[in-house]
């Protein structure tokens, strides 16, 4: 395997999606810049080569904000299978993140403890996948 993991968020509209997106920025830009790539769903759907290459080259962590599993289904639509599908709600519960306290319809700062906690967890998942 190529030594990197593709982070594929669901990119929905609810706050769980925003939390996931922000956590992925922290993982990709701060915590694991050398071992992650950031997959853009609409670009993958539109066959943007970089994003197609990401899922064809690297194992994918799909993170879902709800049970529609859009990120996982998108990867399947493009002929690959996500190596891991993780749900924000389940991770939040396990990590003690209070989703009710997060704002709906706004950005969530990457310094927010909820973002940092989720990002640290996801960085650990990346490390585990690359062992």
């Amino acid at each position: 395997m190529a030594g990197k993991v593709c982070l594929q968020p669901c990119l929905g509209l609810r706050k769980e999606s925003v939390l996931c997106r922000q956590a992925f920025y922290v993982v990709h830009e701060d915590l694991r810049p050398d071992t992650t790539v950031l997959g853009c769903g609409p670009a993958l759907n539109a066959n943007v080569q970089e994003d197609v290459d990401f899922i064809n080259t690297y194992p994918v962590i799909a993170v879902e904000a709800c049970d529609k599993d859009c990120a996982t289904k998108l990867v399947a639509k493009k002929g690959q299978r996500a190596a891991r599908t993780l749900r924000v709600t389940e991770m939040a519960k396990a990590l003690g993140i209070d989703l009710a306290s997060l704002p709906e319809g706004q950005n969530i700062d990457t310094s927010d403890p909820a973002v940092q906690t989720l990002a640290a967890h996801l960085a650990g998942v990346v490390d585990e996948m690359l062992k």
Binding site: L11, F24, V26, G39, P42, C70, L74, K77, T110
Partner: protein, 142 residues
């Protein structure tokens, strides 16, 4: 004015993650909903890509305003893929040029005043299109 007639516009922003404009389109979607809460339905690109029935029904029911962030025009691609002609389209770079807004130095993870200025300009342009589309729909029924 649309409230009593149930005329709405579906707003399909690319809502990507890869670039600064991804954040701009997402934040603009929120702002548009703030400005026209009863006239706008925000459509989820992620859900539409996999043909989620709830989102697809809204997409099919209302005229759609497409907001594209970057050059691949992924929201337009999605609209085409789903077989619908957009009622209106906005491309973020056009709004930048029209308003002479420079967002150099802005970060996709969070915007400062410069980025928020572009969000506001984009939202205002979108709202003008939404008002026009609703007026057009309404007039067609009278």
């Amino acid at each position: 004015m649309a409230e009593e007639f149930d005329f709405k516009v579906g707003v399909l922003a690319c809502n990507g993650i890869g670039r600064l404009v991804s954040t701009i389109t997402r934040m603009a979607g929120n702002r548009i909903k703030e400005l026209r809460p009863n006239e706008v339905v925000l459509l989820s690109s992620g859900a539409l890509i996999v043909k989620d029935s709830e989102n697809l029904a809204l997409f099919e029911k209302y005229p759609v305003l497409v907001i594209d962030g970057c050059r691949p025009h992924c929201a337009s691609f999605l609209c085409d893929e789903l077989g619908k002609k957009a009622a209106a389209k906005i491309y973020v770079a056009d709004v930048m040029a029209e308003n002479k807004i420079n967002v150099g130095g802005e970060k996709r993870r969070g915007l400062t005043a410069k980025g928020e200025k572009l969000v506001e300009a984009l939202a205002q342009k979108a709202v003008a299109e939404i008002d026009r589309l609703i007026a057009d729909e309404m007039m067609s029924t009278l």
